[in-house]
Symmetry: C2
Subunit: 297 residues, 2 copies
């Protein structure tokens, strides 16, 4: 498969943190980028900072001109856009997305992408992001070294799946294929539930008590709190949509976490500090081996 | 009070991350630093990297020569050192520490520091640290802009308390006085319980499941997990000692956090996503106002 031929142009639909960063990163690979965003101001800024080569005010035109389309939109809007993509994208085109859940998106895509000649839909979930939102927070390194989960649809041809994988690999990402249901269970634990935990920490530690107590709480929080709660500063709307789209898996993940926390709490309650130290050491070893695996520091 | 006269020399007892960083920071203020560490190799390294001006192999000599003494040791060792300080420090000297709990340290200090002419003991808890340990992890900016809680003892004169406050302020820290019991309750929530939560996250997310599942978990964790769990990579021994020294307050803090988490979980379980979004937005606003307060980003 000749990738140069197969990926001459990518349409980035939605130009927030993820879409904008994707445009900037694709620009460094010499890919032609067509962009779309609802607001004229965003389209102008995106063209101005070089996140896209061209931005169209109508999504149909962007879809029709591209060989690869990336829906970098909120989850409900991705789902809304799928029929439009099935209608306006070229027969050989491949449509993918960046959504944090996959089952709802893949099942809708399987309903609307029905032609054997394409366009095809292949889900993607790049494990990349920050607590910030919007194009002004975009930067080209966002996807560097990120893992990307690929969830093919029933009617997607193998070369379509490969084209999406190839796009992410060009951006120094590592791809793994996974079915949509397994994906959603997995990221409920590794990402979604974490946001609920971080939010609860922020609410509990900073939100309770009177004014004087609150001032001391503010003083008593340092870099440990800063990092542990960082993702509590993420977009409330986006996380509502993610949690809503993955409700049972998020609840299951929270129950699993509470069980583990209770186990540690019980060791402390019964004064088994040797046991607590052993468990803390095991948690440290796991995290340190993960940093090693990800080549992070 | 003439601070220059009152703080010509500081003894830093213990040269790990906190003691080493303190020595480096005091060096930038032109303070004469005497150091002590149990291991000869640590003393040599500390002198070599300029964390201290002189390092003595016997703590008695370091204590006898200094006007201000900082015990930068593990909690049980701080408590062990208090009688030695009361015996060997000069009459006008002030002894302080960097321990994460204060009640156990202050009550022991009140037993052994009994002379009306000093030495005096004044507890300190600088809200500074990283997940790393040891002198090799030390850096002079560790205390920049940190809050420091000051817990005076009954027999400490006001000028002794002021001398300790002045030392921290020279290092660009912000000091607040607090009684030891209130301090321990406060930091159980803002710091100690967080370490248990981070450890439970690491154990739950990375530790469960078979080998293949584990590999996917490793892939599914990204920067959100990295930051939320960072402090799980801290020293197991140190956190065991802190939790052991502040057991009832840590348990109470964990119960408070679990309550808040349950509240969010129940909103998700009953499908009240508007309510979840509102609470997430409140947690974000609290954290963002805290960043503003701390002038962090």
């Amino acid at each position: 498969m000749d990738t140069e031929k197969n990926m001459p142009s990518v349409a980035v639909i939605g130009l927030g943190l993820l879409g904008g960063s994707l445009g900037l990163a694709l620009g460094r690979c010499g890919v032609k980028r067509i962009g779309w965003a609802r607001r004229a101001e965003t389209r102008e800024t995106a063209a101005g900072i070089g996140a896209v080569d061209t931005a169209y005010p109508d999504p149909e035109r962007a879809l029709a001109e591209a060989d690869t389309v990336v829906l970098a939109l909120p989850i409900p809007v991705i789902i809304e856009f799928l029929p439009l993509c099935a209608k306006f994208c070229r027969p050989g085109a491949v449509v993918t997305d960046i959504g944090s859940i996959k089952a709802g998106i893949v099942s809708r895509a399987e309903e609307v992408f029905t032609s054997g000649d394409g366009p095809f839909f292949v889900g993607s979930h790049p494990m990349a992001g920050t607590e910030k939102s919007g194009l002004t927070a975009a930067f080209p390194e966002l996807y560097d070294n990120a893992d990307v989960f690929i969830t093919p649809t029933k009617n997607a041809r193998e070369d379509a799946v490969k084209r999406v994988e190839e796009m992410w690999r060009r951006l120094s990402c590592h791809t793994s294929r996974l079915d949509a249901r397994s994906h959603d269970l997995l990221v409920a634990r590794t990402s979604h539930a974490l946001h609920v935990v971080a939010s609860a920490l922020s609410l509990d530690i900073l939100g309770s008590g009177g004014e004087e107590e609150k001032l001391f709480r503010f003083r008593g929080c340092a870099t440990g709190f800063k990092d542990t709660s960082r993702i509590a500063s993420s977009s409330p709307r986006m996380w509502r949509e993610i949690v809503e789209s993955n409700q049972p898996a998020v609840l299951e993940a929270l129950v699993g976490f509470e069980k583990e926390l209770d186990r540690l709490k019980n060791l402390i309650a019964k004064g088994d500090f040797d046991g607590f130290e052993r468990e803390f050491a095991r948690g440290k070893a796991l995290r340190d081996s993960w940093l090693e695996y990800k080549k992070m520091k």
